[in-house]
Amino acid sequence: MSFTSLVPLIGISDVVIGLSLGSRLFLIAVGLSLIFGVLGVLNFAHGGFYMLGAYVTLAVVSNVIDNFWVAAAAGALAVGVVGAAIELSAIRRLYNRVDSDLDQLIVTFGFVLVIHETVRFIWGSGSYSIDPPDVFNFSVALGGSTFNAYRLVVIGLAVAVLVGLWLFITRTYFGSLVRGTSSDREMAAMLGVDVPRLYTGVFFLGSVLAGLGGALSAPLQATSPALGDQVIIDAFIVVVIGGLGSMSGAFVGAMLIGMMQSLGPQFISAGSIAIPFLAMVIVLLLRPEGLFGGIGE
């Protein structure tokens, strides 16, 4: 049978690596999707936020406190503050324009350049890496292959973020405000929702998630200024496939792309990096609302 001949090719470690790649993609894509779903802004700078999160984490670990978790929290929060500042100073001015969508995309692209160069100015063009936190820095042997236990932690945290966000959006008061504003901004404003503050809050949250993604994946990859540009394109693919504005879609899309990045090269040699873009084109044409469409799901 042809199937049995395929099985030995897929090690469990490949699956775990794919899922952990998907997890970091999920953290950036879910923030991107959340911001688009509520504010209608496609934030080109989200990859830059992710990269910034990784850099701040690295800097805190090596200069301030030798505790990865504290550093990761600091990285995520710092990115949140940067995101909120960008929303307050720039993006806010564009909500009421006629062609606001494209202006927002161009302004956030401007921030891609600014963040990229600022990071290069502070940390240089070289790449940095750190070890996973000691507690999880050991190899797991499973099914004849090995992988670092920290990858499982990242996957677990991504799932926890998904569940937490879902509970937050569907069960809390603030979440109901977010959902209400997302479906009808004017009505929400008339009912007394402070829409500008809510927008800043959502942008802050989305940025924190991107920063967290960067922070958590700092031990898994080399962090360099080019990281943001690479990851934002993957994040665009994920949110398009999952559906712009959909959180569960971002999760499924991210895992799909993560697995494709991990397993794809073993099955298709030529054209394998083209497949995600082909998928993006097909989804945009046939189901622009994404495979799991629906705002705020």
């Binding site: 290069r120 063009s125 873009f277 082909l278 993006m280 945009l284 044409l285 622009p288």
Partner: protein
């Protein structure tokens, strides 16, 4: 305006310029400038050629963005299409042409044929890509063009057909024309500048004719309101598709010139960061003006060169353009050309000099318009003569 003595004199000067400096004179002045540049220092000739190519790239892009309202983040695909078209013809067919037309003139013939092939390749790609892309609007259009561009990037990098030489790209050797003992390198900076200048001026004139034709008017109608244009009986999607193809073809011509200038057709041309150069140049120059992308490309190339003169700043020129891009979109959407219009109105005091800088498009308009209306005009004048 308060007619102080100086103000009055400046105003008089402005009117005189408006009366006397017709489109023809400005055209002549431009032509003389273009010829003089050919005798400049080699690096300046190169830099100016670079500017011309980027200007044409941005101009083609802006046909879709400024005139039709569609933001493409994938025009690098067509830039690369032109470049790879000519590069592959030069590599694979150069010897064949040498046999047919003789070795002396074959580099020039191959260059021309390669350029035509590059342009044809771009159109062949743009027809289906455009047909699919114009099904979407706004953010979704930007995303699908981005995806198409990156799809092309992936295919060029991985090279399944064995044509594009992967990440290294295809080397472009333009060769030497040999005519009865006189040999000229086609890729030599001065000759290549002349070829580029003629091509870019011709293509720019073509685009200018297009945007001032009924076709261009329909584009602007669609940009202002697709629904209203549709209600007037315009097939919006079909017209966007046609504009997409024309826009891609213009960018393809720029790509052909880029290949010869850079001596290589590299996969980076397809990457979205190359597509973004057209966005940056156009927005900074002013997307609503015909000359916006040209002025934007000028600012982009020359400020980048200026920054590169300071080693401490050299690596950070992107920071400057990122900040400039943000500032322009937030505070002054008309861009540099809009700024020049405002400045001109300040100096002249009325709309008399109207459009003098705009290739003389409004050189004959009434000199005694009120400042108020000319300001208004500058804001709504999207580079057309109306």
């Amino acid at each position: 305006m308060s007619a102080t003595d100086t103000g009055g004199r400046v105003s008089q000067f402005g009117s005189a310029v408006a009366e006397g400096w017709t489109r023809e004179r400005f055209g002549l002045l431009g032509a003389v400038a273009l010829i003089l540049i050919a005798f400049g220092p080699p690096f300046q000739v190169y830099l100016f050629t670079d500017f011309l190519v980027v200007a044409l790239f941005a101009l083609g892009f802006n046909l879709l963005y400024g005139y039709t309202g569609l933001l493409s983040f994938g025009h690098g695909l067509f830039y690369a299409g032109g470049a790879y078209g000519i590069a592959i013809v030069l590599r694979d067919l150069g010897p064949v042409f040498a046999d047919v037309v003789g070795a002396g003139i074959s580099p020039l013939v191959t260059f021309v044929v390669g350029g035509v092939v590059g342009l044809a390749l771009v159109v062949v790609v743009a027809v289906p890509v455009g047909w699919l892309s114009v099904r979407l609007e706004e953010i979704y259009f930007a995303l699908i063009t981005l995806a198409f561009g990156m799809l092309g990037y992936s295919l060029i990098i991985q090279d399944p057909a064995g044509l594009t030489n992967g990440t290294d790209g295809v080397i472009v050797l333009l060769g030497t024309v040999d005519l009865g003992g006189v040999s000229i390198r086609v890729g030599g900076r001065r000759l290549y500048y002349v070829i580029s200048a003629i091509t870019v001026v011709a293509a720019t004139y073509g685009v200018w004719r297009i945007v001032n034709s009924p076709f261009g008017t329909v584009c602007k109608a669609i940009r202002e309101s697709p629904d209203r244009a549709g209600a007037l009986g315009i097939d919006v999607r079909h017209h966007r598709w046609m504009t997409f193809i024309v826009s891609a073809a213009i960018v393809g011509i720029a790509g052909v010139l880029r290949a010869g200038l850079a001596s290589v057709a590299s996969p980076g041309l397809t990457h979205w960061s190359t597509s973004a150069i057209a966005v940056i140049a156009t927005v900074i120059g002013g997307a609503t003006y015909f000359s916006g992308p040209i002025v934007g490309a000028f600012i982009f190339l020359y400020i980048r060169w200026g920054i590169s003169r300071f080693p401490a700043l050299e690596a950070y020129w992107e920071l400057f353009f990122g900040a400039l891009l943000i500032a322009v979109v937030l505070f002054f959407k008309q861009g540099a050309v809009g700024g020049l219009h405002l400045l001109r109105d300040r100096l002249v005091g009325d709309g008399g000099g109207g459009g003098a800088a705009e290739a003389g498009s409004r050189a004959t308009s009434a000199p005694d318009e009120a400042t108020e209306s000319s300001d208004d005009d500058a804001r709504t004048d999207r580079g057309d003569t109306s």
